[in-house]
């Protein structure tokens, strides 16, 4: 049943990329425990607008845990306290009356703050452009059922393909490494027969792009998988390392 709670919010405010930024404190009364976390922020923003203040900017869109737009570090944890849950799917019933909640943007050098809680995650798109695809033209590909994929393999590829590109793994990592994201993307395609022809080139180029963006190195802390809202497992990082090693043994014959 629905009840209400009162909260103190410490929200990171930063007017732009060059501003230093800092926490502001707000108090919010009568928050229904049935609200989602982002609806709670909507209510805060309505309150700020009514007071003639600038509302808090945050990213969001689908509000169903699939677009990867929402982010936020809530009480020190990317996407908040719940396992396998994006911020937009987090509900206020998981918070206590009288609680103080800290809300910050994802922090990583490769994800500069745009404003308040919004960070620039375009580095992920650039990594994808470097090789996160199968080069096939639109036209007349062969019949889909001419490429059977054993179910266990297809399922594994799918487990990797579930990544929503939110960047929580980077925010969770003490080194701000993007390995889990890249691992998910590389594994998805390299596990499928369709991805085979570009297997080496893909992993090489994506790792190269990742390094160029200034993400940190992976020291296997495992924090990424724990905070990942899709629980992308560590084994994909092992797979990525193997793929990379394998690729460096295979001489490239042609590359474009």
């Amino acid at each position: 049943m629905s009840k209400t709670i009162n909260l103190t919010l410490k929200v990171w405010r930063q007017s732009g990329p060059n501003d230093k930024g800092g926490f502001e404190t707000y108090s919010l009364q009568n928050v229904s425990t049935r609200m989602s976390f982002l609806e709670m922020l909507d209510v805060l923003n309505q309150q700020l607008i009514a007071e003639g203040k600038r509302p808090v900017e945050f990213e969001h869109d689908c509000r169903e845990g699939i677009c990867g737009a929402c982010s936020l570090v809530i009480n020190g944890r990317p996407h908040g306290p719940n396992y396998r849950t994006t911020t937009c799917q987090l509900h206020m019933r998981h918070f206590k009356d009288g609680e103080t909640i800290y809300i910050e943007p994802f922090r990583a050098d490769a994800f500069p703050v745009v404003k308040d809680l919004i960070v620039d995650r375009s580095a992920f798109d650039r990594i994808m452009a470097a090789g996160g695809y199968i080069s096939v033209n639109t036209g007349s590909p062969q019949d889909a059922n001419n490429i059977p994929v054993p179910k266990p393999k297809a399922d594994k590829a799918f487990d990797a393909a579930e990544c929503i590109g939110c960047g929580a793994c980077v925010a969770a990592c003490p080194n701000a490494s993007a390995m889990l994201f890249v691992a998910a993307k590389v594994s998805h395609l390299s596990l499928l027969p369709q991805g085979e022809p570009e297997r080496e080139r893909r992993v090489r180029r994506m790792i190269e792009a990742m390094d160029a963006e200034g993400f940190g190195h992976c020291t296997n802390t495992g924090a990424c998988s724990i905070e990942c809202p899709k629980a992308i497992p560590q084994e994909f990082i092992n797979r990525l390392n193997r793929e990379f090693l394998r690729a460096s043994f295979i001489t490239e014959i042609t590359d474009d």
């Binding site: 509302p55 699939i66 452009a129 695809y133 929503i164």
Partner: protein, 652 residues
Amino acid sequence: MIKFREGTPITESAVPPGPMDRKWVDYRSKCRLVSPANKQRLTVIVVGAGLAGASAAATLAQLGYNVKVFVYHDSPRRAHSIAAQGGINAAKNYQGDGDSIYRLFYDTIKGGDYRSREANVWRLAEVSANIIDQSVALGVPFAREYGGLLANRSFGGVQVQRTFYARGQTGQQLLLGAYSAMMRWVDRKKIEYFPYHEMLDVVLIDGKARGVIVRNLLTGELKRYSGHAVVLATGGYSNVFYLSTNAMNSNVTAAWRAHKRGAYFANPAFTQIHPTCLPAEGKYQSKLTLMSESLRNDGRVWVPKEEADVERVRSGRIKPADIPEEKRDYFLERMYPAFGNLVPRDVAARAIKKMCDAGFSVIPEGDAVFLDFKDAIARLGRDVIDQRYGNLFEMYEKITGESPWDTPMKIYPAPHYTMGGLWVDYKLQTNVPGLFAIGECNFSDHGANRLGASALMQGLADGYFVLPYTIGDYLADEIRTPLPDTQAPAFDQAEKEVRSLMEKIYQIGGNTSVDELHRTFGRIMWDYCGISRTAEGLQKAYGMVCDIEERFWKDVKVPGKLDEKNSELEKAQRLLDFIQLGKLMIIDAFHRNESCGGHFREEYQTPEGEPLRNDEEYAYAAAWEYTGTDEPVLHKEPLQFEVVKPSVRSYK
């Protein structure tokens, strides 16, 4: 007061001659082509990178055009297409259950209640199989059987298994496929993409679309880009209702601004209410979450038969499971024995509303019915159900705190999809030369009601397989046109108008927040122009929406600055366009004196409460022309049925 004028009918929709099953093949073999050398001199602007936009951009770039892609998202991968859950249709007949191009065509025409253009729908069915091949080649991990081949399931409104799916995230997987195809061309510099850029106007020179005015959402800067053609792939407008299943930022601005520049807007009143969504709760509610239609394959919809049980279940004194079988009313199975729980969306939505209006809602405040998996779990076992719906169950539990394993879901219909949109001809070109519209933002294929799993199909058909041919036919005449100069007077004028509208909104300085006004407006649209409509209600609503528009200009409040990331300013501009669209939706719903598909006018129903079409007078698409006054002009495009004879749509 509702006013409109009737203009000249539309006689030219560019449908090629010849028998239905030859039209597209013949068109493709005969349409004009642009040589590779000339393609390199041509630039195409694509607005939007959902399934339609991303697939079009990738394919156009591959053909050799220079492509510029604009999205308001921070990344093309976040387009609203990402949220599609259930699946995508294709006439593959992998299950050998009698599917064919004809059957998919027929189901779509019938599902759309005979209000779509036959030739477009045939083409859609014809290319559907290629979409699956293309997507699999791109690495889309569709569900597979143990033998390694692709799996299918059935969706509402049809009797064959033709839906391909990828767990509960078909949209995400298909979009990642199209997005990766697009990023490949970004890497090769054939596509330049602009995230965080919102299109606010189309620029016309000598009557042809030649460019766009966009706003950089991070800096507020207005910018001009020119091209030889402009493609809008900007999605649907269900957020006109405020609460819908669409992503929060989905809006009509691109299509509406194009409409204001002369593009006709067709069938705006044809909106789809999805039967199975989470019910609305409090005033803070920001969106309605969809529970995939696929759940109706195994879930059974019911309410208690007796009012006493309704009372007890509402107050929590008994659990749904305590109500014995004989005291449950599985009303869809009762009313529609042939299709049962799998009737099309509009039919299911109305039946659910009817039960709730009759007092059988199972929740204390608001409306909801049960969607129950008890029998399916008993019949198929937990593993099978988990495979099919595990993630949907999890999503439901995350939001509501209740587990569908233990107790039935509570669901209610919500605005979900818009069949109406920019009018386009067979070539997907609007009546403005050089301006194309693809995906949900056009009106083309779904008539008065869309079948489940057909929007993904249409978006990708348009983007991968149709537009790349038809746009060539237009561009063949443009090979000598230099890239339009963005300093041309038309660009100056358009930018000036965009700026002054934005500044005017910014300066209102009232007391009502954008969301508050949108919520009030959306409620009016839902109450009077939602699941069911009456002439009287629509007239009343029209007055109310005019008041909302006035209130907007007096009382809206936009904090922050113009030259920075300012979500309130973005929302305010979109709201104004929604309000103006709302007026047109009401006019359209009012003028169509019949019931068809998602458009249910209470005055026009059979004694059993089924929609009553009027083919004699309304077998046309209503394409509205903007006049700048409160009196739009109606252009009728008559619909001819050569292949299927319109009949009463029955799912009994």
